[in-house]
Symmetry: C2
Subunit: 369 residues, 2 copies
């Protein structure tokens, strides 16, 4: 093997794939990149056995090769070089050799034959979606994904294909996010659960243009340009989330998202360390937020203007959760739909995006009196 590459182009590819490499793996070979040359393309592949990523750049080479190279050392070496053309070759002593104008860097490689792959992928369905919409759905849902492994299905994002919409749902039992694209029709109805980690990793990777999404019962595959990303699915039943979404929340509060975020940031400094409780006291024109930390003897109260149609109400939330869900709302003003202080509260943007429906649910806390 002997190829020439530009350090900046190669670094860009390695930057993407290195995000898949596990920090420490019981299988050391997973801390390697699989570098393959075929048909004048150099492809870089990595997997942690749950997710896998491959991307490639054109090179000139008559040979075909495949070797496993220590990922971080190769990445760090290429990163440390300035923008220049380098030669990459293999040595007879089973080393990959990076040659620059002034230096030579050698790294032992392993045989490609030992490199594990995810099971072969056979798609049962595919569709195409813009990167912008897929990223929005993934980032929105990801903010409500559960960190607790107890219910494995809730550590993933539900992607629900319906004949008249494409829907993304996530919940950790404290909050729930549902985003529907109403102009995406599907010829099948299908629910799949994508692991939270896969959603996080791939969202950072996608750049522009469209993404081709395909899946079968055990894997999902995303393709964009030279990037191919595959993840195993969570093969489990997703909770019946629709039964949780209240339909009769007639008390409607509208306020500035920016101001509410800013007030919450201050008030949350004064919440109890255990409960993080912030109390919303809602009247016709004034939303008053307050918190108290009895251990420290500190307390805070702040008021913002609002429009409220409904019964005056005191309702309490975990300040971290409410700060996080407000961030999901894209509009300047946010709407809270309330029932009573013990029932689920809905949050929505004051204006839905065209062909889109975003709904956020947050559970209140029992009010400290």
């Amino acid at each position: 093997m002997e190829i020439k590459v530009n350090t900046q182009e190669f670094e860009k590819v390695l930057n993407q794939v290195v995000s898949i490499i596990p920090a420490r793996s019981p299988m050391p070979i997973l801390e390697h990149f699989l570098l393959s040359i075929k048909d004048n393309m150099l492809s870089v592949y990595a997997t942690d056995m749950q997710i896998a990523l491959q991307t490639s750049i054109p090179v000139i080479s008559a040979q075909e090769t495949s070797i496993a190279v220590p990922a971080r050392l190769l990445h760090d070496t290429i990163k440390s070089l300035t923008d220049t053309d380098i030669k990459i070759s293999t040595d007879k002593d089973q080393k990959i050799k990076v040659t620059t104008d002034t230096g030579v860097f050698k790294i032992s490689y392993l045989e490609a034959a030992d490199f594990p792959h995810l099971p072969a992928f056979q798609e049962i369905y595919n569709f195409t979606i813009s990167t912008e919409r897929l990223k929005k759905a993934f980032d929105t849902a990801n903010s409500a994904v559960s960190k607790e492994e107890a219910r494995i299905s809730m550590t993933g994002v539900l992607m629900e294909l319906k004949t008249d919409e494409l829907r993304f749902v996530a919940t950790d039992a404290h909050r729930l996010v549902k985003l529907s694209y109403l102009d995406i029709q599907n010829t099948i109805e299908k629910k799949i659960i994508i692991p939270g980690r896969a959603v996080q990793v791939v969202s950072k990777m996608l750049t522009d243009s469209d993404v081709r999404v395909s899946f079968n019962d055990s894997q999902i595959r995303l393709e964009q340009g030279s990037i191919v990303f595959v993840s195993r699915l969570i093969e489990d039943q997703y909770p019946n989330y629709e039964s949780v979404i209240p339909l009769e929340n007639d008390n409607i509060l509208e306020t500035s998202k920016e101001e509410l975020s800013s007030v919450l940031k201050r008030i949350s400094l004064f919440t109890s360390t255990q409960t993080k409780q912030v109390k919303f006291s809602i009247t016709k024109d004034i939303l008053s937020l307050s918190a108290e930390n009895i251990d420290l003897g500190s307390e805070a109260n702040e008021k913002i203007l609002c429009d409220y149609q409904g019964t005056p109400m005191d309702i309490a939330f975990n300040s971290t959760y409410v700060s996080e869900v407000i961030r999901i709302i894209g509009t300047d003003r946010v709407i809270f739909k309330l029932n009573n202080p013990t029932r689920a509260c809905l949050l929505e943007p004051n204006i839905q995006e065209e062909n889109e429906n975003l709904l956020v649910l947050i559970m209140p806390m029992r009010l400290n009196t």
Copy 2:
């Protein structure tokens, strides 16, 4: 107590003093600011019993008060507010009350009488130095301060007043830094050892103009504008560092500092994890750096141009140490003065700044053959 302050001005003061607050202290009162009002000045004071900082801003108040307020909560609260005027007052229930246009924030305070202070300070000598020169001396010396508590004097910076110079020295036994200002005369000869932490903290705090430095046998005090910084000294004997500095290093290597740094960054990826050894192979025109990690089977070699007057030599260094000491040199080209591969090596800028002498010493390692 009732005063009006601007959030941005108050935040600036708190930002400085909060750096003194210990992360967690067995004496909870040390996690407080001492706020005092006297003669229309609001002063903020903190100490960890080793170092202490006070700074102040003008306010309008007929009263005199002194209270101890939880430092981080007050700092975070003021930081979270936008640029506005606020009222700070005390409540009858022993709380400090921050009032904005829309909110009220209350924090329990402690009595000032319980607040500990460093021993009273009586100066025996003082001098004035520009911030630029003091910062340079502190930052330069700080890079060689020992992290090991075994020899307590080496965890500090030696400040040595001579009749014809002011000198700063630090060493961790692997390297030594000595910076002399040759145009600062003193009427006394005196050595004091300033703790490394004091040097780090105060260097970030000083802004422009001059600094008044005063000391006695147990404390040093730095004053600039409204900032007063005090630190206990390390009352111990400093090692006889002068006997370590070689006088007969006649092999002279000169090379580009920038290129050498950049090569070291790459080569250090390939050093042994334990020894960090990088080998310098020096000939008349070429400095060749190499490293090998036998466990990983990786190795690297890179060459840069140099001017060398002396016996061709292979000499080895810890790559981290040599990268760090090179950073101290301010000029584009760095000079290495060598004796032989087992003796201390000196580094200097190729041109000394006017009225200044900078010398860096680094110990070589035993060469792996």
